[in-house]
Symmetry: C2
């Protein structure tokens, strides 16, 4: 399987889905629609909607009910980046080579665009109830997963601890770092795969198994990020390495060292793939994708 | 009926409900829970949950399924104030005599607390599915109203136009002012009353009638605000009058003058009450409350 090529095909199709659900109307508030579209279409690998759809397919899902959720998870991911880039947070001017939303539209609009995307993610997911042959109870399960994993017990919770630690120059303990990784990065990956399973009618137990798989993959993904910052190839990565050390940023490598970090990536990934393989539904591409994501070189 | 006293009793009971649904747990992200509770309990008349509950009672509702929604609407109202107070927006330091959230917790936390409250509003409303004897389909209807009226076609839409007009010093037309009033203030009042009706099992047609009532009351309420800023009694209002003129703020009075504005408040209120009375369900207190809200002197 040519994973890079297969992934590119799926990314394009996810891109189409995400764009189709963005608001496209006239009105006095037209600028917010522009800013929402600008923010969401600023690039990105669309990993979350792809993981969601592949998990949906794995459990036998085959209707368009998944599509509003693919768009919703990407809107939530995007809003978190828009707010993260604000002057009060990371104060980033560029993202993937383009001016960030608050630079392009002003700071007030940066705040409002994030708010709008978060709210619109729920509106979009709720539209799934109107899909042909929609099963309300699986949709409700999926929306509740989305809300929980995006909030204070999920992504926002991780973001809060990350921001607080930096703003107050707190000493980051290993427990705290684990918490940040699990929630800030992990929660939306868990949500993506759990929602795919839930919408395909997976049982509560299966959804929990998928949560465990996704949690391990999210953690391995994040540790690999730390490893690449130490020994990645700048030409392949497309960005300078060593930035964590220069910024005195505590990472997994700080606590475990590079060799143990690599072992941990392997351990987590092996466990995740074993757990995934123990479920009697199969999607070969998903297994390949998880391996590729974790052992990527960029 | 001693409306002020009756309202105070209901405000206290709404306060209890709202507080009961705020997160109360330990964790690394504890500061966000503090900031959420700080923001929501900073005072406020709890008008939206009261209007919601009274409309619910009017249509015969009598279970606790309404409670998570009462809390949710107040969380959304609060998040909009927290973000509105940010330096990038109105840059307000005090709200009801207390430091605003970004002053008390820092600007990054101000952004995150608003995000957290918006997200938690949906989590809270979604918990209504677990209420005893919950009817999933009315809950879904209610959540969809909440999402729509809070978003770019509701409150955020009005906020965007208001902020843009001010930041860019645009000339505000009468149409634009109407749009801002209808969405920024009106949408959440509509949501409150519509959700109350929906959860009590009102028909689609009845929910639309309530939307129309609420829309008129919201508009009358806002115009009364403009009138009070011109000729209110500072001692009764508890704040200085004439601030709109000093800030060159375009209001309804700017276009219509004070006499026509008063006529419009009366016309809208009469129509709203007539429409409300045409519905074969009754709640005498709700009628009194709407009259009181519109013709208030503070």
């Amino acid at each position: 399987m040519d994973i890079k090529n297969e992934l590119a095909v799926r990314a394009e199709s996810a891109e189409d889905v995400v764009c189709r659900f963005l608001p496209d109307v006239e009105g006095f508030q037209g600028m917010i629609f522009d800013a929402m579209v600008y923010s969401v279409t600023a690039g990105g690998k669309r990993l979350r909607p792809i993981l969601m759809n592949e998990t949906y397919v794995m459990f036998g899902g085959n209707t368009e009910v998944i599509e509003p959720f693919m768009a919703a998870i990407e809107m939530i991911h995007t809003y978190s980046l828009v707010h993260d880039d604000l002057p009060a947070m990371d104060n980033d001017m560029l993202r993937r080579g383009k001016p960030t939303t608050h630079v392009a539209y002003g700071e007030a609009m940066g705040v409002l665009t994030g708010d709008a995307l978060l709210n619109y993610a729920f509106e979009t997911a709720l539209d799934a109830y109107d899909a042909p042959n929609a099963d309300p109870s699986t949709i409700t399960t999926a929306i509740r997963i989305l809300a929980r994993k995006a909030g204070v017990f999920g992504m926002i919770g991780g973001q809060v601890v990350d921001v607080e630690a930096e703003k107050k120059q707190m000493e980051v303990t290993e427990d705290m770092l684990h918490f940040i990784y699990e929630l800030k990065t992990g929660a939306l990956i868990e949500a993506s795969m759990m929602i795919g399973a839930a919408l395909a009618g997976a049982s509560e137990e299966e959804i929990e198994q998928i949560e465990s798989v996704a949690s391990k993959i999210g953690m391995a993904f994040q540790i690999q990020d730390d490893i690449l910052d130490v020994e990645g190839d700048e030409a392949v990565l497309g960005k300078p390495v060593g930035s964590d050390e220069r910024n005195h940023k505590v990472t997994y490598v700080t606590f475990a060292g590079i060799d143990k970090s690599k072992q941990e990536v392997k351990r987590l990934t092996d466990e995740a793939i074993n757990e995934l393989n123990s479920i009697p539904y199969k999607n070969e591409f998903l297994v390949e994708l998880l391996n590729y994501l974790v052992y990527r070189d960029n």
